[in-house]
């Protein structure tokens, strides 16, 4: 070391703030003893560094149970809540898809991901918090880094250092204390100089560019080349019929097969009066209650299926008027005097030009439409008694 450099180093030290004073011990017993002495001396802000966990150190240092567990718990629960709510949002709110006939909110399917995210966030979060607390964020290093002290306590010796923020800290007294308890190589540690972080360092930028190029290249190769090579193609090339392709097994060549004759979809009731004379159907009464919900449902279905011909108000004046034989009005005396069963029969079987609607409109919806037609009819034929308001 030249005279000049030593001189500048001393000048630097004068400006630096002391972080702590530490000493090294040779045996686990001596470090445990030193920790006990430090507690007796009244030091509260001191730390012990050992190459392996020394049993009984916690009680010697009179450490309180660590609060890091609560941090882990908090981060873990946050991760769990985030994962669960995210999946809820994706599969219920933003993009609901029916998967396997299950409800949108199928929480058992969310459990594995929630569990993974909980563990991941708790582990990574705990380490991040510990590093941030230990380095005193935004510092990216600890004052003890790259010291002789750290070199030894991470391999063959045991260290104790009293930090300057301790209320009883006094340079000479701490030195005395350490030498009294048998410490060797007592050393003063200074707060590191905080260098501004240079984002536009050419090396750093170069590194980012290289990483970006490698990532893009690997991604391009994987998605465009690798996945089209065996064995990665094995998932795509299977002994099955792809959709919209020809089927060599059947003479008609169709890939999609019709269900077996007489198949009934779950939850669907086939038309129960199929093939029976009209008189049976005509005498049916409407099974649905004459309620607001039913009429609203009927209105919706009517507007969808009936209004293109019969018009929104049942007058037979729709936009298709003139292109086909004009549909009759639903306000004629004939229709008004029909029983509900007769209208049901016409919707189900069709009449003249009107086709059957039993495939498009479910049974309950047909009855709901009939209620709505009655509402339309009554609106044009209101009686005086209808004006009476509810008391």
């Amino acid at each position: 070391m030249t005279e000049h450099s030593r001189h500048t180093e001393e000048a630097d030290i004068m400006n630096k703030k002391i972080y702590s004073i530490g000493g090294l011990f040779d045996t686990p017993d001596s470090i445990t003893h030193a920790a006990e002495e430090a507690v007796k001396e009244g030091y509260t802000k001191f730390d012990v560094n050992t190459p392996y966990p020394v049993h009984g150190m916690e009680s010697a240092m009179k450490l309180k149970p660590s609060l890091i567990g609560l941090v882990t718990l908090f981060i873990g629960l946050s991760g769990a809540a985030f994962a669960f709510m995210f999946m809820y949002w994706v599969s219920v709110v933003d993009y609901p898809l029916i998967i396997g006939g299950k409800p949108f909110f199928s929480w058992p399917a969310f459990v594995p991901v929630t569990f993974e995210v909980t563990v991941l966030s708790a582990a990574v979060g705990t380490v991040a918090v510990m590093i941030a607390l230990f380095f005193k964020f935004p510092n990216n290093a600890h004052p003890l880094h790259d010291t002789n002290y750290m070199k030894h306590v991470s391999s063959d010796r045991f260290g104790l250092n009293v930090v300057a923020i301790d209320p009883l800290f006094d340079e000479s007294k701490v030195r005395d204390f350490l030498s009294r308890t048998g410490a060797k190589d007592i050393e003063i540690f200074y707060e590191p100089e905080r260098k501004p972080i240079r984002v536009f360092d050419p090396k750093f930028i170069g590194l980012l560019v290289v990483i970006a190029m490698v990532t893009a290249g690997v991604t391009y190769f994987t998605l465009n080349k690798l996945l089209y090579m065996p064995p990665f193609t094995w998932m795509a090339e299977q002994d099955r019929l792809s959709s919209q392709s020809q089927n060599a097994m059947f003479t008609d060549g169709f890939g999609m097969r019709n269900p077996v004759e007489g198949t009934v979809a779950r939850g669907f009731t086939p038309y129960e009066f199929k093939g029976q004379p009209d008189s049976v159907v005509r005498n049916l009464s409407n099974p649905l209650p004459f309620s607001k919900e039913v009429i609203d449902r009927g209105k919706m279905r009517y507007n969808t299926y009936c209004s293109p011909c019969h018009g929104y108000f049942g007058k037979g004046d729709s936009r298709l008027n003139g292109q086909f034989p004009n549909p009759p009005t639903l306000h004629s005396d004939k229709v008004r005097n029909w029983p509900d069963g007769n209208i049901y029969h016409v919707i189900t079987n069709g009449q003249n030009v009107m086709p059957s609607y039993d495939k498009q409109i479910t049974r309950d919806d047909r009855w709901a439409i009939i209620h709505y037609i009655r509402v339309l009819q009554r609106s044009l034929n209101a009686k005086d008694t209808d004006l009476e308001t509810k008391k």
Partner: protein, 388 residues
């Protein structure tokens, strides 16, 4: 420090006789009143008992094969609990006489009319069924006899080679116990619904078995150590290890149970999901939901914090609770086959009481004959010096 052999107080024997006596009385009354229902409870009793005994034996083997030192001071506790293993066959004898009442694959006319059952008949037939149960118990008992014989010889001779022999034996024991427990669970629990199958079912029962054996060992070890019957030196770090292992296996059970549920629920194949549907109707829904809390949430919460794992009082409470939860789990597995609606009364209490009594008595008579601590084990001193 030297181990001083002490006689267990008569209180232990009396408690054992009390439990076994009340249990036996209830069993006798129940068998007279409703033989079919009590036969189902007999299966619960059999599987409950088998899992305590085999679980304790598995812990012994686990200690040898993993080279663990912390559990050496109370390995004998596990060995003594496992000594009740051959008595499992006594529980099976009444069932062997009533197989027709319990398993509908035992009826030839049912099997011949059922394609699935006739396909399974090379496995599910009465002689092979009885042979399997006896075979599994006997083979495991041979392992028990060899483990304990070597360990007792070591008490006198202090020969280290015996530990090495036991390590080799435990390596052989592990796959045998795994297969044996799988067979027992398939035979006694899964074949109650012979159309249903779950490939993870054996692992489910294995996790429950380890937990039952560990809970029994923990309760006995902690109680004996508090009363000073074990060698001095067993401390909080040993307790912590017991608690941590119980915590781990509780999680393992939950993991397996949920995996089984998730796959069946997801695939929703009728012949698989019917098993859960049976446990969701007629009031079983509440039992199923309760099971999640009893078997997982409460033990998990009870053992989560660091101090609770080394608190002897908490450990004893939780291990008793885990044994009750294990019984509850088996009740949930077995009884829906007997009844479409939830049934629970004194019929169900006879067998668990009897099993507890029998295990206590088996333990008590073992302590009369043998040391409660493996004094000749070369790992004993390291086990006592164990620190976390």
């Amino acid at each position: 420090m030297e181990y001083q052999k002490k006689e267990l107080p008569d209180k232990v024997k009396n408690t054992g006789f009390l439990f076994a006596g009340i249990g036996l009385l209830l069993i006798a009354v129940s068998y007279i009143l409703d033989p079919r229902r009590e036969a189902f409870n007999n299966i619960i009793g059999l599987t409950f008992f088998a899992s305590i005994a085999i679980g304790a034996l598995a812990l012994v083997a686990l200690e040898y094969i993993s080279g663990a030192v912390w559990s050496v001071p109370f390995r004998r506790v596990s060995e003594f609990i496992a000594s009740s293993l051959p008595l499992v066959l006594v529980f099976a004898i009444p069932l062997f006489l009533m197989l027709g009442m319990l398993f509908h694959w035992t009826h030839p006319e049912v099997v011949s009319a059922d394609k699935l059952l006739s396909g399974k008949s090379p496995y599910l037939n009465i002689p092979f069924f009885i042979g399997r149960t006896i075979g599994v118990i006997l083979v495991l008992y041979v392992f028990y006899a060899l483990f304990t014989r070597n360990s007792r010889k070591q008490d006198e001779s202090k020969e280290q080679g015996l530990t090495r022999t036991n390590v080799k034996l435990s390596a052989a024991f592990m796959p045998v116990a795994g297969i044996g427990l799988t067979l027992l669970s398939i035979d006694w629990i899964m074949s109650l619904e012979p159309h249903w199958y779950s490939t993870i079912f054996g692992v489910y029962y294995i996790s429950a078995t380890l937990l039952a054996g560990l809970a029994a060992t923990t309760y006995a070890s902690v109680s004996l150590n508090e009363a000073g019957y074990l060698i001095p030196g067993v401390n909080k770090d040993h307790y912590y290890s017991l608690g941590a292992l119980m915590f781990a296996i509780t999680n393992f059970w939950a993991y397996i149970a949920f995996s089984q549920f998730l796959l069946i629920w997801y695939a929703n194949i009728p012949e698989e999901s019917i098993w859960f549907v049976m446990r969701w109707e007629g009031g079983w829904k509440y039992i199923s939901i309760l099971l999640i809390f009893v078997r997982f949430v409460i033990p998990y919460a009870g053992l989560l914090s660091q101090p609770s794992k080394s608190n002897p009082k908490r450990l004893k409470q939780i291990s008793i609770f885990i044994l009750i939860a294990h019984f509850f789990d088996l009740y949930w597995l077995i009884m829906p086959t007997f009844s479409k609606t939830v049934v629970f009364s004194f019929y169900e209490l006879g067998f668990p009481l009897f099993v507890v009594g029998v295990v206590i008595l088996a333990f008590y008579y073992q302590t009369k004959k043998h040391n409660l601590v493996a004094v000749g084990d070369p790992k004993l001193q390291r086990g006592l010096d164990f620190h976390l």
